[in-house]
């Protein structure tokens, strides 16, 4: 069956992207580089695994739940990463950036309070 091949491809891609995300969490050398890895790669890997599940179950309920989970992880992962990076910046973990446009804004915000 053709759908079986699609499912196998989605499984392989999903597992690969999840492994790459965790590898990035371990191997990258800076907090702001490390936060890149799970927010993009793990989300993509989870989306591929959900596609594999939706293909496998086929029925309307399973596919709908998988779509719901995909929507949810697509909404929450960027928000969580943003909050975490903002907290890290405000806690004096400095990025290795040549141009830091956020620093002036953060200083203004601190002065206002």
């Amino acid at each position: 069956m053709v759908t079986d091949y699609f499912e196998i491809a989605a499984l392989v891609l999903g597992a690969f992207f999840m492994l790459v995300a965790s590898l990035g969490v371990v191997r990258l050398e800076n907090f702001y580089t490390r936060i890149h890895a799970p927010t993009k790669a793990a989300t993509l890997g989870l989306a591929f695994l959900l596609v594999a599940l939706a293909i496998h179950l086929g029925a309307a309920t399973g596919a709908a739940k998988a779509l719901l989970a995909m929507l949810f992880v697509g909404m929450t992962a960027p928000v969580g990463a943003h909050i975490l990076a903002r907290a890290a910046y405000r806690s004096e973990i400095h990025p290795m950036a040549k141009i830091d446009e956020y620093s002036a804004f953060a200083k203004r915000q601190n002065g206002k309070r």
Partner: protein, 93 residues
């Protein structure tokens, strides 16, 4: 090798890969120099757990585990948010 056997083998290999990914996240939780690294690795670990639940759901041919995956996803997000907010209040200002 038939197609069903190939699919089963791919499922087991994917499970091993996701378990390896979870172990790498645990390494970063233990090692992480700052608490933010630990929270980041916790977030990644929750996603790996959801991936393992989905693979197990395909392996057992059932769709009841998708609800559990949704709940674990939600708990991981709430955990990450609350830990990040706590660290922001703790170190910030």
């Amino acid at each position: 090798m038939t197609l069903a056997e190939l699919k089963l083998a791919v499922l087991y290999v994917a499970l091993v890969a996701v378990a390896l990914a979870a172990m790498l996240c645990m390494f970063r939780i233990v090692r992480g120099p700052s608490p933010f690294d630990r929270v980041l690795a916790f977030d990644c670990l929750a996603l790996d757990l959801v991936g393992a639940i989905l693979l197990e759901s395909i392996l057992l041919e059932t769709d009841v585990f998708v609800d559990i995956a949704l709940v674990v996803l939600l708990l991981g997000f709430i955990g990450t948010m609350s830990l990040a907010t706590y660290l922001d209040r703790l170190h910030g200002d």
